[in-house]
């Protein structure tokens, strides 16, 4: 399907037709101080040759480091077939064509994506995806307010394991619509929800539970889901989709299951790419589907009785409900979802479970190797998924700088997000890391912590 930009003549004619002097005039309504004239590091228009050279030079600055950073985006092996197929002409478009008469392949892909995500999360319905995990939480919070009309507080309680960036984004998006976000009390020893100090009478409209937590630990999700229900609140699960191949699906948490699940889809075949584009997933119980944001593809039969695919339940959406729509999202991350669908198809459930287990084991190995060094210990005991928070005897920032000199991206400095944890570092080793990689990291860390001793040896 070609998407042909307008010629300058087209633009001129259209401007003349509406009586606007130039394109700039169309943006008059936006106050000047809200507009960004230029972006740092983004030059004026360049030729293809110039831009290729510039981008190659910039990519070269990344070097080829070993990455042990998790914290919400994860380096996994992506089979070559994933992007080979996803970038075929039939799929490779900046815009997702939804017309049923022209786009059966795309719609079927999205339908299969929805099927896979509902299977992973153990819930009934999936949308066609959202922008990313953090904005998916904001959408889930707004959705919970629409669903749970009996509770008027608009108060969302967050388990302490919720990703701090997700909380910030949710606050930025939903805070302006009257929602408030409050943290549940944390047990400092475990880093998890302090289940003995759960607040009564807060009348939360929803409780958000992340599993695995931001620091890689595992919450008692059954208990928290049941507690949310007792409070009259909906439960919103945030889960790393890879982890769901080995952990209990949100739909099976507690007595009745989580009401909504959402999270970051990047681990499913989307490269790290300096932070995006990624995609957010969202699933829910069927009873809540009318309040779900985003597009939903349904399967139907055509006049000849053949299976066919079409957007469904569109009365929730902006082009029909206008200002009353469930969300202003009228699109999805089509290309990322295509890659994720192919990734999941190629790995299968067993393959995804092997990725999850290998990542979990590698991270445990890495943590053991690092904790053998004086001055490094685990921050929390107990089971972890594929991230472990470490307590260091010195600030993490300096350690990370020193590791970078060894070609190692050593993890996420938690002091920026959780200053109360002191000198803390979040490390992650997915299935992409070999024993040699882990040994290289541990060796570099020993150098950083005891440079003189090593030199003498």
């Amino acid at each position: 399907m070609p998407f042909i930009p307008h010629t300058p003549k087209d633009t001129e004619e259209m401007l003349a037709a509406i009586g606007a002097p130039d394109l700039e005039a169309l943006f008059d309504e936006i106050p000047a101080e809200l507009r960004i004239g230029s972006l740092d590091g983004v030059p004026e228009a360049l030729s293809e040759m110039q831009i290729t050279r510039l981008m190659r030079e910039r990519a070269g600055q990344d070097g080829n480091p070993l990455c042990f950073i998790g914290g919400g985006a994860y380096e996994h092996h992506i089979p070559a077939a994933v992007w080979d197929i996803a970038t075929r002409g039939e799929y490779y478009s900046a815009y997702t064509p939804y017309q049923a008469e022209a786009s059966q392949g795309t719609l079927q892909t999205i339908y299969e994506y929805q099927t896979m995500i509902t299977a992973l999360t153990g819930l009934d319905v999936s949308n066609a995806s959202l922008y990313d995990g953090a904005s998916a939480l904001a959408e889930a919070a707004l959705m919970a307010v629409r669903v749970n009309r009996k509770v008027k507080s608009r108060r969302i309680l967050l388990a302490p394991g919720v990703h701090p960036v997700y909380a910030q984004v949710a606050e930025a998006i939903a805070g302006s619509q009257g929602l408030t976000f409050e943290w549940l009390p944390v047990n400092a020893d475990s880093g998890k929800v302090d289940v003995d100090a759960l607040p009564a009478g807060r009348e939360p409209v929803a409780v958000v539970i992340q599993q695995p937590t931001f620091v890689g630990t595992l919450e008692d999700v059954d208990r928290l889901t049941d507690w949310a229900a007792e409070q009259g609140a909906l439960s919103i699960a945030i889960a790393n989709p890879t982890s769901l191949a080995v952990l209990k699906a949100p739909g099976h948490w507690g007595a009745a299951g989580a009401d909504i699940a959402c999270g970051e889809g990047q681990p499913l075949g989307v490269p790290l790419s300096s932070g995006g584009p990624y995609f957010g997933y969202m699933t829910c119980k069927s009873g809540h589907v009318r309040q779900m944001p985003g597009r939903i593809v349904g399967r139907t039969t055509d006049l000849d009785g053949e299976p066919g695919y079409a957007l469904t339940l569109q009365a929730r959406e902006q082009h029909i409900r206008r200002s009353k729509a469930t969300s202003n999202i009228c699109t999805n991350q089509g290309l990322m979802v295509t890659a994720a669908t192919i990734y999941m198809s190629l790995l299968g459930f067993d393959g995804l479970a092997r990725v999850a287990s290998a990542s979990q084991q590698n991270t445990a190995r890495l943590a053991d190797a690092l904790c053998a060094i004086d001055g490094i210990e685990r921050l929390y005991d107990g089971p972890h998924f594929h991230e472990v928070a470490l307590r260091l005897d010195r600030p993490a920032a300096g350690v990370l700088d020193a590791l970078a000199d060894h070609g190692i991206l050593g993890g996420l400095d938690l002091s920026r997000w959780r200053p109360e944890l002191g000198n803390a570092l979040l490390v992650c080793a997915t299935e992409t890391k070999t024993e040699a990689d882990i040994a290289a990291y541990a060796g570099a860390m020993r150098d950083v912590f005891a440079p003189t001793a090593r030199r003498r040896a």
Binding site: R290, A315, I320, R321, K324
Partner: protein, 131 residues
């Protein structure tokens, strides 16, 4: 177009009202409204005890081709909703003035008939729409 029931009052938003003996008012949408919407697939009902402002949003009716707000014709408190519509929204299509009723409201003030239309007035209103 079918006969308009003579014992009801009507609004320009194509809603009907029936004053019940206990002082409450039952509300639904008219045959004209259901026919314009087409086959209904979903009805979002208000909560019992919810307070309604006159002309405020009260319910949402969704058909295969559109979703529309149903506005409260009078101010009051919701005392009963037609729960059967949750599973069977097409009752509104089949019997808009009977089984397809949507909500029963306890008015916060006496209902002023002057704000509403008689069957004859509503019929004229519909006839004008067709012109």
């Amino acid at each position: 177009m079918s006969e308009l029931p003579g014992d009801l009052l009507y609004t320009k938003e194509h809603e009907w009202l029936r004053k019940e003996n206990d002082g409450s008012v039952t509300v639904g949408i008219t045959d004209h409204a259901q026919s314009a919407l087409g086959d209904l697939v979903y009805v979002e009902l208000p909560e019992i005890d919810q307070e309604l402002d006159a002309e405020g949003e009260m319910a949402v009716v969704e058909s295969v081709k559109a979703a529309s707000d149903v506005y409260a014709p009078i101010a009051g408190v919701v005392v009963e909703v037609n729960e059967e519509l949750s599973d069977d929204p097409e009752k509104i299509n089949a019997d808009p003035y009977g089984d397809g009723w949507i909500v029963r409201i306890q008015p916060s003030a006496d209902v002023d008939d002057a704000d509403l239309m008689s069957p004859d007035d509503y019929q004229s209103f519909l006839d004008d729409l067709d012109d």
